[in-house]
Amino acid sequence: MKILLIEDDEKTGGYVVKGLASAGHVVDWVRDGRDGLAAGLDASHDIVVVDRMVPALDGLTIVKTLRAASVRTPVLFLTSMSGVDDRVEGLESGGDDYLVKPFAFSELTARINALVRRPPIATEKTRLRVGDLEMDLVKRTAERAGTLLDLLPREFSLLELLMRNEGRVLTKTMLLERIWNFNFDPQSSVVETHISRLRAKIDKPFDFPLLHTVRNIGYSLHARR
């Protein structure tokens, strides 16, 4: 994967580049906004990771300009501005996701993976399948090995998100944001308890588990034994 990183902080940048490179990605690292915009306009990257506050041109302007120029490359904001409004502003400017510093590297990779392989809206499927687990998005039903699963609406959404991201790790924060609309740390085990409920319904009665906990990072749904 080819990643454009716009980040002026040497330490953070170096750390991100090193980590992404060791995961097999190619990273173009630019240190100011103007170079970043120029590189982004090439549209030759799979994803742009941009810091909100970079010299010469700020992150928001870069992304707005990219979107105005019809560049559709997914954008992940990286920022130390954890203010309540900053996230909304970032997403409204055309960013696809938002990650607040300090962050764990696993959180960054999980988000990058989720963004890059997010299926384009045009090719929306009506059925999802992971192993022997099947979901009908039109009828809003899910079954495993022929047994209809009795899911509450939120459990259904949670399972749908996990299935759409088959094999990828979704972090706790990503789940909180997307399923519960919590853009804050609830300081309680909301995610854990719901996962445990879901697990009881989709995994427990069956031969092998599909829903896996990735320790200290998040959750992943896949049929690999």
Partner: protein, 454 residues
Amino acid sequence: MRGGSFFKSTAVRLAIIYSSLFVVSYLGANVVAYQMVLAYLDDRLDAAVMERYREIEATFRARGVSGAIDMINSHGPAIRGQETIYTLRDRTGGVIAGNAAISGVPSGFSDLAPDDQHDASTSYKLFRGQLGDNDLIVGISEGDTDQLARIVLVSFGWTTAIVFAVGLGGAAVLRYRSRNRIFALSQTAHAIGHGELSKRLPVSPRMDEIDVLSSEVNVALTRLEASVIALKQVTTDIAHDLKTPIGRTFLVLDDALHREDMDEVKGAVGAALQELAAIASTFDALLRIAQIEARSRTAHFRLVDFGDLVRDIYEIYEVTASEEGHELHLKLGDGDCWISCDPDLIRQMLANLLANSMRHTPAGTRTSLELSPHAGGVALSVSDNGPGIPEPERRRVLERFYRLEKSRTTVGSGLGLSLVKAICDLHDARIELSDNSPGLRVRVTFPAPRQGSL
């Protein structure tokens, strides 16, 4: 405030302006009065001159020229000095009687300036008429009249001077009194400016303009003092509360440095990361509180059905509660509960209240979430039958970093309820903690949405 120039004092300036106005109008009135006095005196003099003349004229008619001459001669010396003067001339122009030889004056009334032809020092009012073939001039000195006019003028001058002196004296007194007050005020202000925020401006029971101003300033000072104290407290608390996890992280990492076994090192680093995450989330919560308190979030206010929000949160936490051995109940009143709010923040408020209730109560505790209409607005209450909070501490748990002694060991930043409080304040909602006997009851009352809000 030093003494300052006398004329720079506001009180003195006002007093001088007022007494000047008074003096000017008083002077104007005096000028008018003086003119009237002069006119009156002039009329009286005319009448006196005329009277003399008529007397002589009457005698002339009765007894002829000789009678007139007698009259003049008998009269003339009898009158003091030369206050009354007469000149009677015959047809040829020779003086036949009188104590003066006046000539060259017109008929009727006229004035004779002093030293004009006469050795007198005063001027005279004259009347010239014909007694048959003879020519009579009668004159009376204006000396008395002038003196009277002078007396009037001098008395007017004196009274004006007295009025002005009283005005200046009053200004000085006013200045002295207001200077003392202002001096006291500015001394206090100086002390406050140098950090003595507990000082207050003196307010007298009269409640004049200065007192009203001073008491307003005092109210502002009280608020300022409270926020400065809170700020100092928060700074100390942050330093204190963050030192502990930083210290733990330090120890864990230091220990990891001396470990050889990779798994042990990894475990220690993981523990350190968790501590750091807690520190980051504390800062995050502080930032959120600060932002919410700065009222920068009203832009996201919308009219929302509170019932929907509460039901949504209930569904989320019902799962968490039952997994953790708590009971959660929902009681929604009938009808819509529309409030103007920031749904993101309200969601966080509800989450914090529920998390708080579950974290600080033992398993098996029953928590109920209740929503009911209240005075046009909505009342939300979160009550549990757990250990509760002792009365004296109920207000304090809303403060930043305040934690009950027994909660010191549980997780949490001590900011959850402060955040709730900040969100309530932003929504003009009132938060009350009370005894649920047993347990804690948190009641938040939201005002009715204002007319015309979206």
